[in-house]
């Protein structure tokens, strides 16, 4: 056992954004184990003040380049709730399909490019081209296909342009839906092969477990991504999305420019693990089969398995999308959008971004000008839980070499699939 441990990782690689790991231990006693976020605040909640209702989505989609569709959907749903707009079932199906394109894109990027190197003992995906060429080609092909799926539904891969309050500026044609159906069907065996390769290396994932509170959207009958109310693993009741501030209870800590969140415990986790733990029974059959293949039980409390659950969600997303396309080809939307009136109102909405539950709230005056906004991002909800994981993990691995301790901590951070830049949205500052 090393007598003293001094780890300073500035910044962790293979995550989105900047975060540091700091560990100090003397004579086998942990003095400090910290997850620090030094990213600059982004001020998006200030940017949208004074903007019109139809500009908000374009601004807030810029919070992120990976989950810009989720931000757009959350913003637009919040506007729709503020103006009491009700979409048709078919338009909701197209929205879900759009959302799924990002889910596949983000999960493949995370597992394929950011996590796989750890499983195979390399620094990046590039060396894997020489040792696992076939699988890297499949990962690239899956990612490309998901990007092109986003292009079709959202107008472009990053910062969507077709999604508007009330519906869409454009719905794909029946022929495009048919082509997409064929394309997604072809992706399923490809994704299966990638999952099997990850399975072959899954023993590299540490067996660390820590029970925590899990929070995700829930709606009976579906594995909730686009709609639902707020569920927690700690209670058997749902909280309306409109009351999300009572759930997140954001607060500031000295070690992070991103706020933390807590609900029934000191911290909670959002993301694929939370969705799985709260909605597992609603997975489509192939996804359930993959969950079984990976040995995932009724509840998964190992944060390192978040990436494995993301693969299971890829199977679900592909299967459900094929089902949605069958429905849309049978009964397409009658029009691209519904009519509505702009009015004063306050609207809150939530979607499951790839990294977890995402909340947006906007207040509009009678002209439809935004006068206030509040956004709570999945990653800032996870920061506190990541810290708790770190505090629990470090004492159990002090007997390892310093390099291995650092490796396991970096892998822990990566397992959360953090979008750190997204999480530093706005601080209320009082100068003293």
């Amino acid at each position: 056992m090393p007598k003293n441990v001094k780890i300073d990782v500035h910044h962790v690689t293979r995550i989105e954004g900047h975060g540091n790991i700091v560990v100090r231990a003397s004579d086998g006693k942990v003095e400090k184990a910290e997850w620090q976020v030094p990213e600059a605040p982004r001020f998006f909640e200030a940017f949208v003040r004074g903007r019109k209702w139809d500009e908000v989505q374009g601004v807030v989609s810029r919070i992120c380049g990976i989950c810009s569709i989720s931000h757009s959907l959350a913003a637009i749903k919040a506007v729709e709730n503020a103006f009491k707009i009700q979409l048709t079932e078919e338009l909701t199906q197209v929205r879900t399909l759009t959302h799924y394109s990002e889910m596949l894109q983000s999960h493949v990027l995370h597992v394929g490019y950011l996590i796989a190197p750890d499983l195979f003992g390399v620094k990046s995906v590039v060396p894997l081209v020489e040792t696992h060429l076939d699988i890297v080609k499949k990962i690239v092909a899956l990612h490309r296909a998901a990007n092109e799926w986003s292009d079709l539904l959202a107008g472009r891969t990053t910062h969507p342009i077709t999604i508007i309050p009330g519906g869409f500026t454009r719905i794909p044609s029946q022929r495009e839906f048919r082509d997409l159906h064929k394309r997604l069907s072809d992706l399923v065996p490809m994704a299966q092969e990638v999952a099997e390769v990850v399975l072959s290396a899954a023993d590299k994932l540490p067996g660390f477990t820590r029970e925590t509170e899990y929070v995700a959207l829930k709606k009976p009958g579906i594995y909730a991504f686009y709609e639902g109310e707020i569920a927690t693993s700690d209670l058997d009741k749902l909280t309306p999305v409109n009351q999300f501030e009572k759930v997140v209870n954001e607060y500031v800590t000295p070690q992070s420019t991103a706020k933390w969140a807590r609900w029934h415990r000191d911290s909670y986790a959002v993301g694929a693990l939370a969705r799985y733990n709260l909605n597992r029974e609603e997975l489509f059959p192939l996804a359930k089969k993959w969950a079984q293949m990976f040995g995932l039980g009724e509840k998964v409390v190992n944060p390192y398995l978040n990436s494995v659950v993301q693969l299971v969600e890829c199977a679900h997303v592909l299967e459900h999308s094929l089902d949605l396309l069958d429905k849309l080809m049978t009964k397409p939307p009658k029009s691209e959008k519904v009519d509505f009136k702009v009015r004063a109102g306050n609207g809150a909405a939530a979607v499951e971004a790839p990294r977890g539950i995402l909340f947006h709230r906007y207040q509009f005056d009678e002209d439809g000008t935004c006068v206030a906004a509040n956004l709570t991002i999945p990653t800032n909800q996870n920061h506190g839980n990541l810290q708790k994981d770190m505090e629990a993990l470090v004492p159990t691995i002090l007997n390892l070499s310093q390099n291995d301790i650092q490796k396991y901590l970096e892998m822990l951070v990566r397992s959360y699939d953090p979008c750190v830049s997204c999480s530093t949205h706005y601080l209320d500052v009082t100068f003293v």
Binding site: R14, G65, V125
Partner: protein, 147 residues
């Protein structure tokens, strides 16, 4: 295909040139103008199946600010030392090498590198690069004379 961040001064020369080419509407319909939005992965995806790709990017080449070079991937070596794959910064040369290994590179790849005067937060190009935009455009258009 433009790489670069239009909010970092001359690092945005690629997107600026792309917009200029788009506004001039002189290119054949066979030519796609692609702004990768700074995403090296988007650039990787866009290479596949293309006969020719011309990259437009700010490049530190040890030249006088404003100078540019047209070169092929094999004619240069990247000095970038990234710790791994980053979602915010990419190594074009590394990406092209990876694309070749994957068998997904374009038939022909050409790179135009533009030596910056100023790479720092802020919109708009430096005066030096702005004054040479017409010259840059002329040279880029030469690549597509037979498209």
């Amino acid at each position: 295909m433009a790489l670069g961040n239009p909010f970092m001064g001359d690092e945005g020369v690629g997107p600026a040139l792309l917009n200029r080419l788009r506004d001039q509407s002189v290119l054949s319909p066979q030519v796609d103008l692609i702004d990768t939005a700074g995403s090296i992965l988007s650039a990787l995806h866009a290479l596949k199946g293309r006969r020719k790709v011309v990259f437009l990017d700010c490049a530190l080449m040890g030249l006088v600010p404003g100078e540019f070079r047209r070169f092929l991937p094999d004619q240069a070596r990247s000095e970038k030392n990234l710790p791994g794959l980053s979602l915010h910064e990419g190594d074009l040369m590394g990406m092209l090498a990876t694309a070749r290994l994957l068998g997904e590179s374009a038939g022909e790849v050409v790179i135009f590198g533009f030596e910056p005067a100023r790479v720092e937060p802020g919109e708009g190009l430096s005066e030096i690069l702005t004054s040479r935009m017409e010259e840059y455009t002329r040279e880029i258009l030469r690549e597509f004379e037979n498209a």
